[in-house]
């Protein structure tokens, strides 16, 4: 079966399709507002006309490229090209400002490849075992995971923990606009039908991360000319020395495991994986205070784990037919159209196609690392464009991206409004990252809390009696205590000084 799959994947037409998928995916990933999801959706109709192996390989290439391309704009423009690259901005952006754009990109690409490889091997070798564990997950466990994930707000709040918390709570509030989970009651729409589906995450991201920066550039336009320096960089290989590679071993393994784990759990996604790995690496580091100022550890953590999500998310998709994120939901559509029914029996019934998917993943990961590295100097050239020309162009791309996500002018307005909101946040020194985390996790938290309590007749002890749930809640509490203790230590140190 494996040989059969290899004979179908290693044909010139299939390899060319994977190559095209990866290149187009990288471009979609790199442009803010366009995402891996959009790339896969746009090419899905085209894949139906191809043979199953060719069609699925093209989609896999797009997925791989789309997730990997996000790091380019995250580092060079400080705008995450895809939601998965949010955490890459934290240190990738400052590294580029210090003239280390090449190193940040090189390391990001290399560790995207490594994270991808880890997850592909996890998919191939341990998927059946892991899938059986997730079968035991109920809304109780999902609520506890969401609760735990929300505690990362505490350590991503920057200087003010309280303002970070307010920002996170505000993000949850924004996520509640539209139809409520479970009973579909319309909430906080104020009679506007455009708000029924709530706000699009892409629109919020573009507004808060890109439009805000453009408006702030207007307020600081005196510095636009002088802060602009051609980023001088020299890069050998992937910018990482053997010594650094050895030092990052723990970071690499931890981030890969977090990525795979998050990928397996449906409905969480690469953005949370990147943020969780970033926080875990920051907390484990000897120099946590340097995170956010431009350390390569942060870029490595985020990029390793967001690519590790790819293989992870395919585990429940292939073995149980459960899509872990939007892209895998679209891939599920692709599989069924080609007559492949995912489930425990998929290896017996459609083994050739499944092995072809595994091979396509490996091939596309290799193509990604070669193409992204090869074209690196062209990507870095983006920095040579003067900011007073580049920023308006970025704004035009943002508007197009916002419009393209749902083809409605309402989203374009939302982008501008969220941009203005981001400016107010910046002026009042309220961190905006917790807002995004709150927005992503808000709906998931509410839905699973309601489902869990519905099933337990309102008995909250259910969160503490189920072992997996209890572990997540205990870890969350320990994490909050640890962060508060660290914050108290830091403020005491400041007072002493």
């Amino acid at each position: 079966m494996i040989l059969d799959a290899a004979m179908q994947v290693f044909t010139p037409s299939c390899l060319a399709l994977i190559f095209m998928g990866v290149v187009v995916g990288i471009i979609f990933g790199a442009i803010p507002g366009l995402s891996a999801t959009m790339a896969v959706v746009l090419f899905l109709p085209m894949s139906f006309g191809l043979s199953p192996v060719n069609g699925l390989s093209l989609l896999i290439g797009l997925y791989m490229g789309g997730i990997s391309g996000g790091l380019i704009s995250a580092i060079l423009l400080k705008i995450p090209g895809t939601p998965s690259s949010i955490a890459t901005v934290f240190d990738g952006g400052p590294m580029a400002e210090h003239g280390e754009a090449g190193k940040a990109l090189g390391a990001g690409i290399l560790y995207s490849f490594i994270g991808g490889m880890f997850s592909i091997f996890a998919l191939i070798f341990i998927s059946p075992y892991l899938a059986s564990v997730t079968l035991k997950f109920t809304p109780v466990e999902y609520f506890s995971i969401a609760f735990f994930s929300l505690t990362i707000i505490a350590s991503l709040s920057g200087k003010s923990l309280v303002k970070g918390l307010l920002s996170g709570l505000f993000g949850i509030a924004i996520s509640m606009v539209g139809m409520a989970p479970i009973d579909s009651v319309t909430r906080f729409t104020f009679g506007n039908f455009q708000l029924l589906a709530g706000f699009d995450i892409i629109v919020l991201l573009i507004g808060v991360f890109a439009v805000t920066d453009i408006i702030m550039a207007g307020f600081g336009r005196i510095h636009l000319g002088d802060s602009y320096k051609k980023a001088a960089y020299s890069l050998k290989g992937y910018g990482i020395t053997m010594k650094e590679f050895k030092e990052q071993m723990g970071n690499m393994v931890r981030s890969s495991l977090i990525g795979i784990g998050i990928g397996i759990l449906p409905g969480i996604g690469g953005n949370v994986a990147g943020l969780l790995s970033y926080t875990a690496t920051k907390n484990a580091s000897d120099h946590p205070e340097k995170f956010g100022t431009g350390v390569v550890d942060g870029v490595i953590a985020s990029e390793t784990s967001n690519n590790a999500v790819i293989g992870g998310s395919l585990i429940p998709l292939i073995t149980m037919g459960i899509p872990g994120n939007t892209v895998s939901a679209i891939l599920l559509g692709g599989l069924t159209i080609h007559g492949i029914t995912p489930g425990p029996l998929v290896f017996e019934k459609s083994g050739t196609y499944i092995y072809a998917i595994f091979l396509a993943l490996i091939v596309s990961n290799f193509i990604m690392v070669v193409v992204e590295r090869g074209a690196l100097r062209w990507f870095v050239k983006l920095l040579d464009i003067p900011k007073h020309i580049l920023l308006p162009l970025v704004m035009a791309c943002c508007v197009v991206g916002a419009y393209a996500s749902n083809s409605r002018i309402f989203d374009v307005w939302c982008v501008a409004i969220f941009g203005l909101m981001g400016v107010v946040f910046k002026k009042l020194r309220i961190p905006s990252t917790p807002l995004i985390i709150g927005f992503i996790l808000g709906k998931m938290t509410e839905e699973n809390l309601r489902r869990a309590l519905q099933a337990s007749d309102g008995d909250i002890s259910v969160f503490f009696t189920r072992p997996i749930s209890l572990v997540f809640i205990l870890v969350a509490v320990a994490f909050v205590i640890y962060t508060l203790k660290k914050a108290a230590q830091a403020s005491k140190l400041k007072e002493d000084e």
């Binding site: 746009l42 309280v162 918390l165 307010l166 709570l169 505000f170 949850i172 509030a173 509640m176 409520a180 479970i182 009973d183 009651v185 909430r187 906080f188 439009v211 453009i214 408006i215 702030m216 550039a217 207007g218 307020f219 600081g220 336009r221 005196i222 510095h223 636009l224 000319g225 003067p386 900011k387 007073h388 020309i389 920023l391 308006p392 162009l393 704004m395 035009a396 791309c397 508007v399 197009v400 419009y403 083809s407 002018i409 374009v412 307005w413 982008v415 501008a416 941009g419 203005l420 400016v423 002026k427 009042l428 020194r429 938290t445 509410e446 809390l449 309601r450 309590l453 519905q454 007749d457």
Partner: protein
């Protein structure tokens, strides 16, 4: 504006927002007996926001941070003109269509962000027209995602 004043504004804004959210959540009642209803979570959230905002208010009252912003980062004219350009672009996007509104936005925004030394109107005009056309062709013709044609639609 000092840090202390900013923190006061922040806490008062969130206090009002929390109260507003709570009042707006009152009408939602559970549909089935077992469910918490769609108003439960927003109410908990609103109470959380109010408590956190009160903590921030108390901390601000006790602190004495009189740090001020760097005035060179506060070019009001530049900021307001940028916001005006963006709002005009968004408002005219559907009416004038992608091509005309984007060309106009790019040109004016470049003028706003440039200074006397690097202001090159000819270059700005060429870049604006060419990039708008490239984006339009890529989306409309290559990706097949139509952008608004506005007054150019015929």
């Amino acid at each position: 504006m000092t840090e202390k004043s900013k923190n006061y504004i922040c806490s008062v804004f969130f206090l009002i927002f929390g109260a507003f959210l709570y009042v707006q959540s009152l009408p939602f009642k559970p549909i089935s007996g077992k469910d918490l209803g769609s108003g439960f979570f927003p109410k908990v959230l609103a109470v959380g926001i109010i408590i956190t905002a009160l903590v921030e208010l108390y901390l601000t009252y006790r602190s004495n941070d009189q740090t001020k912003d760097d005035p060179s980062d506060n070019d009001i004219k530049g900021g307001v003109l940028t916001i005006a350009c963006i709002c005009a672009y968004v408002a005219l996007y559907d009416i004038l269509g992608f091509l005309i509104s984007t060309i106009a936005y790019l040109f004016f925004q470049m003028v706003v962000l440039s200074n006397e030394k690097n202001r090159n109107l000819k270059q700005f005009a060429i870049v604006s027209v060419l990039s708008a056309i490239v984006i339009y062709v890529v989306f409309n013709n290559l990706i097949g995602m139509s952008l608004p044609d506005g007054i150019l639609e015929f």
